[in-house]
Point group: D2
Chain length 388, copies 4
Amino acid sequence: MGAHIAIKQRLLAQQIETPSWAYGNSGTRFKVFAQPGVPRTVEEKIDDAAQVHAHTGIAPSVALHIPWDKVEDYGKLAKYAESAGIRLGTINANVFQDDDYKLGSVTNPDPRVRRKALDHLLECVDIMDATGSRDLKLWFSDGTNYPGQDDIRERQDRLAEALDAVYARLGANQRMLLEYKLFEPAFYTTDVPDWGTAYAHCLRLGEKAKVCVDTGHHAPGTNIEFIVAFLLREGKLGAFDFNSRFYADDDLMVGAADPFQLFRIMYEVVRGGGYEREAGIAFMLDQCHNIEAKIPGQIRSVCNVQEATAKALLVDREALAEAQLSGDVIAANDVFMDAYSTDVRPILAELREEMGIDPDPVAAYRRSGYQDRINAERVGGNQAGWGA
Amino acid sequence: MGAHIAIKQRLLAQQIETPSWAYGNSGTRFKVFAQPGVPRTVEEKIDDAAQVHAHTGIAPSVALHIPWDKVEDYGKLAKYAESAGIRLGTINANVFQDDDYKLGSVTNPDPRVRRKALDHLLECVDIMDATGSRDLKLWFSDGTNYPGQDDIRERQDRLAEALDAVYARLGANQRMLLEYKLFEPAFYTTDVPDWGTAYAHCLRLGEKAKVCVDTGHHAPGTNIEFIVAFLLREGKLGAFDFNSRFYADDDLMVGAADPFQLFRIMYEVVRGGGYEREAGIAFMLDQCHNIEAKIPGQIRSVCNVQEATAKALLVDREALAEAQLSGDVIAANDVFMDAYSTDVRPILAELREEMGIDPDPVAAYRRSGYQDRINAERVGGNQAGWGA
Amino acid sequence: MGAHIAIKQRLLAQQIETPSWAYGNSGTRFKVFAQPGVPRTVEEKIDDAAQVHAHTGIAPSVALHIPWDKVEDYGKLAKYAESAGIRLGTINANVFQDDDYKLGSVTNPDPRVRRKALDHLLECVDIMDATGSRDLKLWFSDGTNYPGQDDIRERQDRLAEALDAVYARLGANQRMLLEYKLFEPAFYTTDVPDWGTAYAHCLRLGEKAKVCVDTGHHAPGTNIEFIVAFLLREGKLGAFDFNSRFYADDDLMVGAADPFQLFRIMYEVVRGGGYEREAGIAFMLDQCHNIEAKIPGQIRSVCNVQEATAKALLVDREALAEAQLSGDVIAANDVFMDAYSTDVRPILAELREEMGIDPDPVAAYRRSGYQDRINAERVGGNQAGWGA
Amino acid sequence: MGAHIAIKQRLLAQQIETPSWAYGNSGTRFKVFAQPGVPRTVEEKIDDAAQVHAHTGIAPSVALHIPWDKVEDYGKLAKYAESAGIRLGTINANVFQDDDYKLGSVTNPDPRVRRKALDHLLECVDIMDATGSRDLKLWFSDGTNYPGQDDIRERQDRLAEALDAVYARLGANQRMLLEYKLFEPAFYTTDVPDWGTAYAHCLRLGEKAKVCVDTGHHAPGTNIEFIVAFLLREGKLGAFDFNSRFYADDDLMVGAADPFQLFRIMYEVVRGGGYEREAGIAFMLDQCHNIEAKIPGQIRSVCNVQEATAKALLVDREALAEAQLSGDVIAANDVFMDAYSTDVRPILAELREEMGIDPDPVAAYRRSGYQDRINAERVGGNQAGWGA
């Protein structure tokens, strides 16, 4: 019982950022299915993100994607967010959608295109200055589709050059989060394909450069919690982009495909000190609600991370350490599984009631009438999407 | 030397169909990069396909995709193709792009949507009657993204019902090709995910239903040539959709990612009797030239299949059988690799010269001025694409 | 509450068979780590299996592996098992360990070796007559390591011939379970690599031939519950070999790597009617306890299947169907996840108490003193293992 | 023609080391098939390795595995090798076969076991002093099978401690090669699972620590040549363990499963300066000839690396760079594929004749009578194997 109180206390400190693009339309190369009520403006995205926070209590910020969320006045946007009850978070750069980027952005063989991409990245830091964002998230779709198409090593040189320039531009309290991804949209080589590549670049760059782990960006069979533990040990874990997948980068609701994996990841976060606020780890969602309702999808995802965290906090670490040191494989696994097998939903319901929110966030959202209202109001205009 | 003459003789019989959609724009969910000179009409796609045939001599037909290639008068379209030097081939149904298909087409829980999808499939058979096409290719993107989203088994019942109705509509000389695919765009379940599922349905349907093997639609580690050999043994291999991939369904130029695999597949085709015209196997390309030039991409792909076929025909099957029966693993592998290691390009150059075409099809196309002409002429209008 | 009573009622009917070889030593190609107390004889294996049944109440039979469990008098062995409180179950053939099988058993290019392998299979049916076993489980390690090594199709012909002969020998109440496996120990081709191959052979053979699904034998990304649902629909699912894996055929305790997957599989079993006794599905474990204690490993595994089954039975199928038919993706997933998130251990504890066994089987086994006793008694002799 | 002469000149410099254990028996967990003529002693392994060198001319050294190749007097062994025409190469440590290592060697929770493992590693450096070997190859099978079994991070701490101690013991001209592997024999976590982990440890250790890339140790879909290019750029590529695989760590003859991949790897080696002698890259085979003849298997493998190297040297790098910089994807791929499609066997035959050896090494070995002689002579005694 005392354990439950301590766990609730620690869960109060959790903050999960939702991405503005999760509220817009998304899909696969085969089809983007539009949904009713989808935002047409950044402000409407912020309104939706604020709903997620209102019903979960632990999603107080929203990540922006430039240029999808480009506005004239970011200070005004920050105030808008504040009035909605949340704040602006991480700035995500986009160097994959201009026609110029067909063969790459910062690694493009053409110096003109590289310069253009770099200018966009630097512009993103300008925006961070205006929004007060701490983190710049860099995902490069750069790579090649065919053997011989470009020089693997020169592309690394070009990448390093761009990262250096961006790093030099960062302010004292700003950070760069470098994301890696196995494949897609490039199919043969990807210029930052794995954590090792991101780590090596961040190490060279310095303290303000950290690795971002997207849970859907690994080869089959990869042990993601190992990477989390390793990066924490090296002081180089900067952020999570949470989502789940069965095969490739499916971008499903986090925890939907393998809730046990999410628990194992959160356990390593807790065990490695990454759950402490001072560790500075950014916990973000990065998902596509292609066929399911978007706001409930975000709420469910935030709750899934919270459930996994609660279970991770429940692990009896003393008993675990004892079983581990004694070499009793089954006993150690039992201690670990005991936490996972526990139904933590009653604890979370209690926690929410203490926070003054409904114990069942998805149900509360459905009852709130918000979805009906936006379905009715958001007619006409251009629905937000990836603009691909 | 005599062997080379025999091989050239057999290569003369080869026919590879190119897909109309390979000439239009395509991309990933992140971006479709438009290319100059891309067709705006079906007729322009046919013109491009005719170029591929003109330079390779073995691509005499083009597959259509409905509704992308929908026209008023298919008889007129067939005549247009004929005058361009090729003919209309397989009809590809499309039940994945209407907003109604968000949760499936023929397996949708909603009977109204199922009926709509079935009507489209039946319409495709009408079109086959008009074009004189032999084959209807069915690929269903149907599936689910989340556990519990729909009932796996009921979806099979619905699928079976639709297939029955289409099969019943087929004419005496018409066939149904059922394609399977591991994942994408559905991420959790796919209703026809593997050859076993397609095979079981085709077996129930009867002689006119055959399995289509798309070389990019398998789980990692799957031995595709085994499937080819097995389906040929069962009399259920109907067609190939050729392309290549490194990780998922990359739809790269066939032979680009693993030329040795393509050789092994073509060897099983030859060995299992699938290369004979009477086997009725349709050899088709199904690719996306996202970043490379489209017509040269198709020409290169046709040549890659031809090279793999030439090597497959080169295998000294007597020596191979002898080594196999003697249990000499290295000797058997040596016989097999000897064919693969051979540079067959001189044989193919000879063959082309005997056919009256340039020995280097890609170079000849580049020299022809066709690309410059279409780049200049095809301005304005709507470039063909997937319309996703 | 009424639901819980009904679930307990249905759980009472569950029977899971443990494999005799799980009690012996096992390992990887790198090392077999011997454990204390490992059985030296078939009778000692039966004693250990009886322990698993004593503590779980739902493991009343033990599978035998021939020749590892070969004895002079199977009637006597059956009586021995009976006196220990369990019965003899499935007979597992072994055609992979004789030096003659280097290049295959029933698919070997050498007819002498094929005859020898077939004779062993027929001998196994003789043993079934003596033990009263219903099922013959056939796993063929046959395959090739190198392209060209042998003829893929001829190997299928040889396989079919052997299966025909064994099928013809089966008694009226006997069945053949054909197992498939992606790879290992053969690396290039495997002669029964996937469910489709096993299914096609079983279909040809007839009613007594069924497919055995080993949960560790699939390519990455394969949806196993789809296969389960499909085979149940076709009436061709015969058995499970349960275990779990992270990457290849790890043979870990079932449910250890992905408990959510095990739940999804058991849901499809229940939904497809496979849980009913008359469906005749054999639920078996097939695992290797390389580093963990073997008897507790089996007990834990039986409990894991039971937990997954309890959760599967908990799914509110009416609510699920309603959400599915309404196309509410999140609601349907919620119903499904609600059952999974439930901690069913209290229900199982109640059930066990009603069955007169300890609510915590692993703890009860540890307290029983059995392990200490066998560690002390089983000294000298040859510990059971795979004899590889 | 001049190009061919230059390529032959560069090929003369190539040296590939064969592993002593490739000449002994090996297999899978299911069965080790013994072969006639297999060595019983280290000296006989050296004799076999000398055969590979005699017939290929480019395999002048043999790697040792301790304790499999433990002898009293390494100076005498070195002289034996010299008299056989080869030299002793890399020392491979073995900390995976003692019963104590069930839960790990240098990462074991038990400090006594860690000490024992470390002592073995230090002993290996002693042996290097005696043999004059430059390189110590470290592969750790350490890891866990079950979530919770041990603490991922503490295992890294223990690993780092052991590596530090070994590194400190290295002589001025000695190096440590740290190998990584995704999985097997550990199934849940592996303590050095990927290049990033090996790289981070080597970076911390210093100049004498380098990463060893085993071509069979990656997750599906991993781009190995990218890793090669990246490690070369960082100055951290130390060695290759060549073999090939279709699915897991199959340890087949290198180039057998994907010859195009081997070419791409060798291209990055050449392009990144790794082919120059002063780069210090060790090119080694690490394979298991489970079913094929061992000495011909090694010869074939050496030739496969040589063929891939010849093709890599054939790439017209000027034309490639031009096509790459112009952004012509198909032209760049064409230049690359032109080298791969070339049949380099005639060049290699010429090279061998110039070196005074038979143009067809496998055939020459078969004709030599060596195999018949060892089959006859090597009777009795204990055949070498892994001793698992």
